[in-house]
């Protein structure tokens, strides 16, 4: 079994600092592998331990921080890592990243499983997994919180609002996992030291035959909660106030 795990360098939001105005200080925020991507690595490494799978990680970008997250993946147990070096990584959208990863998968594959985080910590678009699957032309199971492999079939469970879905699919497939999937292992000093000695393979978008499309975002609007600020004076007529409150609450649902 061969597994590809695309990983993304994202903001470590647990260490995000803010201006007094409430604006996050993005530029100085530390970066790390996204939380659900880490769960994807953990799933890949568990399959490696159980089914002798060969695991590959890939990230798109350039610079020491991208090298570091590949080394972090090595320290968790990944066997081989690629960086597709792209300048101005920040300007690339999921559609282009998806093309790059699909192309790398074709070049270095075939893979039985491509597994990644369902959504990244920063953009949370949840689109990368489906884009990769459509570019390669394999099924996708998105938002998986439990994955196993028996007798040549993957079994994946997704907890949705209307119930729990269990899928059984033969490889090759793409799976995106949530942070509920597992508790990722923490690299030990031994694996950190070992990861330093491992080679990181580097490719460019041109090597993969990808023409970079820059899609500019015109505007990004933050979701703002609009409070209605309706106040009833319960001191005058408590029963009436409760009645009004219940009426408004039920009409809002």
């Amino acid at each position: 079994m061969k597994i590809l795990t695309p990983i993304k360098l994202t903001l470590d939001i647990s260490q995000l600092k803010y201006e007094s105005s409430g604006e996050p200080l993005i530029d100085i925020a530390p970066r790390k592998i996204g939380d659900s991507d880490k769960c994807a690595i953990e799933e890949a490494v568990r399959l490696k331990e159980k089914h002798n799978a060969y695991t590959v990680a890939v990230t798109v970008g350039s610079g020491p921080e991208h090298e570091r997250i590949i080394r972090d993946a090595y320290a968790m147990g990944i066997d081989e890592g690629y960086i597709v070096e792209v300048k101005e990584y920040e300007n690339l959208q999921a559609i282009t990243i998806g093309e790059i990863i699909a192309s790398l998968a074709k070049k270095t594959g075939p893979y039985d499983l491509i597994i990644l985080g369902a959504g990244s910590l920063d953009t949370h678009s949840y689109t990368l997994g489906p884009i990769i699957a459509s570019k390669i032309g394999v099924p996708i199971i998105a938002g998986v919180d439990s994955l196993s492999y028996n007798d040549g079939v993957f079994e994946a469970r997704c907890v949705m609002e209307d119930g729990t879905y269990t899928y059984r699919v033969s490889p090759p497939i793409v799976v995106t996992v949530t942070t509920e999937a597992n508790e990722p292992r923490i690299p030990t000093l031994k694996t950190i030291l070992r990861s330093k000695k491992m080679e990181i393979k580097k490719l460019t978008a041109e090597d993969l035959g990808i023409e970079l499309k820059r899609i500019e975002i015109e505007e990004l609007k933050r979701y703002v909660v609009q409070r209605k600020k309706i106040i009833w004076d319960a001191g005058e007529d408590l029963e009436k106030a409760i009645e009004n409150l219940v009426r408004v609450l039920t009409s809002e649902v």
């Binding site: 320290a75 923490i186 690299p187 030990t188 000093l189 031994k190 950190i192």
Partner: protein, 409 residues
């Protein structure tokens, strides 16, 4: 000159932080309250490679450095500011290094992998009831008969007494005992691997007792009597009658790690203080932080902690030159002053931070709802003098500055 940690050290620190956030921080109050580090946590720490960090992989260690052990002690103490878990960790990092350095090959292979894996505890048994600072004056004796040493005596204020009895494997101590004529003073001391419980079986002649302590309650402290306790000569550490020197080497390494642990706890206290003074408002809504009497004091305390931290990592850096890189430019005794400086400054800087934090908290600090007292009492153990009394540190430094003839021990 380079004041940056290496990439390996940064990544290791992050991995320890992640481990601590997941497994130690949620339990630290319980650890202090119940007076024990859960055995499952010790096992996890062993699996994570937090013990025997500077010990070679050949003996089951991690193959890291003393700086890395200091990083682990600092971060663990930040997440358990009572420092119990950090002290457990640092004992099982510092003393195993001495075992590797001076013990016989088969003994190293017998003891060290179990300590590294968290199955056995390895600490230090030096202090006796007449006073821990007077090492040369110890009264425990070891007499050699055929190839076996018969040890008699009493050790007190010893860490890990209960843990040795509860861990699956057991454990032991770096023991020092008199092996010749008393008038030879410190040149009359031999060091031994005192294995009191192994394979889950307690050895004959070891009579332990456990004390009730006021702080860093998660790790047990007690004492023991040795009554005709037999130690095979193969467990001797280094040469006969040179134990005092090995002990001082061990203390140097352990003191760096103790300093790092108190700094971790001090950092936690400082973070609590910053959070509190920014949010605590009084006198018509003014935050405490807006009073210069508070903010200036905070700056001073931060300066003291940072100074102690620099002294600590400078000592760790030098210890790595000597013990890990084996740089011939440096000798073991070159560590004496840098170590005494960090051990003198770090616990005292942290004690000052706790005192100020608790004053800024006000009456709240005097209740058990506020956990600051746990860090205060835990780290105060090292201001009193665990792992080397503060005034002994001053003697070591003064002897070097003004000459041995002016400074009597």
């Amino acid at each position: 000159m380079d004041f940056e940690f290496s990439e390996d050290e940064v990544r290791f620190r992050e991995s320890v932080q992640e481990f601590c956030k997941r497994y130690i921080e949620p339990r630290w109050v319980e650890i202090d309250e119940r007076g024990r580090i859960p055995l499952d946590l010790i096992k996890k720490m062993g699996e994570q490679g937090l013990f025997a960090i500077p010990v070679s992989e050949e003996y089951g260690g991690v193959g890291g450095t003393i700086t890395m052990a200091a990083i682990a002690a600092e971060e663990i103490a930040y997440h358990d500011p009572s420092v119990a878990t950090a002290v457990y960790t640092l004992l099982n990092n510092g003393w195993p290094l001495l075992v590797e350095r001076y013990s016989r090959e088969d003994v190293k292979k017998e003891i060290l992998p179990k300590v590294a894996g968290g199955e056995a505890f390895y600490g230090i048994a030096s202090t006796e009831s007449h006073g821990g600072s007077d090492v040369a004056g110890i009264k425990t004796t070891a007499v050699k008969k055929n190839n076996v040493w018969i040890v008699n005596g009493e050790k007190t204020y010893i860490s890990g007494i209960r843990e040795i009895q509860e861990l699956a494997e057991g454990g032991g101590y770096f023991l020092v005992a008199k092996t010749g004529k008393p008038e030879y003073g410190h040149r009359n001391i031999t060091a031994f691997n005192l294995i009191v419980r192994w394979n889950g079986k307690t050895r004959q002649g070891w009579k332990p007792t456990i004390f009730e302590e006021i702080g860093r309650r998660g790790i047990s402290t007690g004492g023991f009597i040795l009554e005709d306790f037999e130690i095979d000569d193969k467990y001797r550490i280094g040469e006969e009658n040179k134990g005092f020197y090995y002990l001082m080497e061990g203390f140097n390494v352990a003191r760096i790690l103790v300093a790092a642990a108190t700094i971790g706890s001090g950092r936690w206290a400082l973070d609590q203080a910053i959070e509190w003074i920014k949010n605590r408002k009084l006198f018509e809504g003014r935050p405490l932080a807006s009073f210069q009497a508070v903010s200036f004091r905070l700056s001073e305390l931060y300066g003291e902690l940072e100074a102690a931290r620099l002294l600590t990592y400078r000592a760790a850096w030098l210890a790595d030159k000597i013990y890990i890189q084996k740089d011939p430019k440096w000798k073991e005794k070159d560590l004496n002053i840098p170590v005494a400086l960090c051990k003198m400054k770090a616990p005292e800087a942290t004690t000052k931070i706790y005192e100020e934090l608790m004053k800024w908290y006000g009456a709240y600090a005097y209740t058990k709802d506020c956990n600051a007292f746990r860090g205060w009492l835990g780290t105060f153990s090292y201001t009193i003098g665990a792992e080397g009394a503060q005034n002994i540190m001053r003697i070591i430094i003064a002897r070097d500055l003004i000459g041995r003839e002016y400074v009597k021990g």
